[in-house]
Structure formats: structure tokens, C-alpha cells
Symmetry: C2
Subunit: 127 residues, 2 copies
């Protein structure tokens, strides 16, 4: 399934991702647009945008769904497995443009990785 029509709901969500660098949890997005659109719509628009390669999803530390704008993931496949960072203080989640070496181990065949780093962001260290 791909994007056939650029509706105003889709553009509203899209502009949120364009305006900020951080990742967004679906829960926060549903809340942010609760007066403008149904939560089902939010879920479906995010799904479409991911299929188009505009954003990518990942699972946060508490098991919630998060989405972030794609920078390096140019194709529809998002096979760049970049790590994500979560600030323990302010809750902000960001993509890290960083290659983490994933060693091949034992007899296994590892083809992807979800890496979630936790700590303090630059802003919260100062405080």
C-alpha cells in the first residue's frame, strides 16, 4: 500500500516530522492530533508514510511504537540499522547517525539489529 492522495491529515502529520529532528511515539502523535483526527487515521497515515520510505518505525524502551524521519534510508526498505537514543531525563528520542559494528557470532546469521541507547542528552547534561 502506498500514498495515493496527499490529504490534509497526511500533510499535518508530515509537517510535524519535517519540523523537528526527534522521533515521535505514536501515543504522542495520537494525543497531539486528538482534536483533528481519529487515532486509527494516525496509525494508518504513519503506516503509509513508512511504506513510502518517508519515515521509519522502531520499538522504544517501553515497548511503544516510535517513528522518525528518514535521513539515510533512501529506499523503501530502511535497511540502515542506525541506533536510537533515548534521554532518561526529558524522554526525547533521536536517531543517531552512527554505524555500530555488529559482529557475526557463532553459527548464527545476523541480518538486522535494533539498538536503543539510553542516557542523558546534551541539553539535560547542562541542567
Amino acid at each position: 500500500m502506498s500514498i495515493k492522495r496527499k490529504t490534509k491529515s497526511l500533510n499535518a502529520i508530515l509537517s510535524v516530522f519535517e519540523q523537528r529532528e526527534e522521533a515521535l511515539s505514536v501515543v504522542d502523535l495520537v494525543d497531539e492530533f486528538k482534536d483533528d483526527m481519529n487515532k486509527t487515521t494516525v496509525y494508518r497515515i504513519l503506516e503509509r508514510l513508512e511504506n513510502e520510505g518517508v519515515i521509519h518505525s522502531f520499538t522504544g524502551s517501553k515497548g511503544l511504537m516510535w517513528y522518525a524521519k528518514c535521513q539515510t534510508c533512501t529506499t523503501h526498505h530502511h535497511h540502515d540499522v542506525h541506533p536510537h537514543f533515548e534521554c532518561k531525563d526529558c524522554g526525547k528520542v533521536e536517531c543517531l547517525e552512527l554505524e555500530i559494528e555488529i559482529p557475526q557470532i557463532n553459527n548464527r546469521h545476523i541480518d538486522s539489529a535494533s539498538i536503543m541507547l539510553q542516557g542523558q542528552c546534551a541539553d539535560c547534561i547542562k541542567k
Copy 2:
């Protein structure tokens, strides 16, 4: 909260972890013991065992809770951030006794990491 009494429910769950090396999702454990104990009991026993440093929890790729026996995590704090591995074919999840180098980046202060590797396990490669 710690373990005050070693009841038969607790011993039943404990023996599952002792008998196998793989991690277990809470969902699977609740199902496995559905005739023997309430799901609330399963959740609470797992919580107690984690506080005692017997097992440790992590979030799986689909956002579910998983638990595994502690090998290297000797204290109550589990600060060894070893990666976990999930087989895409058979669904098995395992701890990897492997140190992954987490680089300090930018101005951030990274103190922990959740690393989930995906691929094929040794058994599933053979098939």
C-alpha cells in the same frame, strides 16, 4: 520487594528458567502456566525474581516483555548490557555473551543500551 517465601508457584517458574537457556516471553509463560496459576501471579513472580537478580527482563522486537536467566549479572543491578538475539524463523530468543562497544557520542552521556539482533539461529540455518 524481594523473595520472602519460596512457594511452589515460584519454584515452578524458576525451574523453567533453570531447564532451558533461551529467554521466555511473559505471554508464553502465562500460557504455559494458565492451568496452574493466575497471570497476575506470573507477572509478580517474574518481578520478584528480577529484583533478586535471578532473571532479567528486556523488551522484544514486538514490544513484548521477555525474561532470561542471569549468567553474568551477579548483582541486583544487571548492569551488564549484553545483546539479545531473536531467530526470525523459529522465534527463539537468547542472550549473547558478547561485549558490544558502545561509543560515547556528541555531548550525550550514554549509560545503558538495549541491543536486539535478528537473524537465523544455528538450528534454522541447517534447515
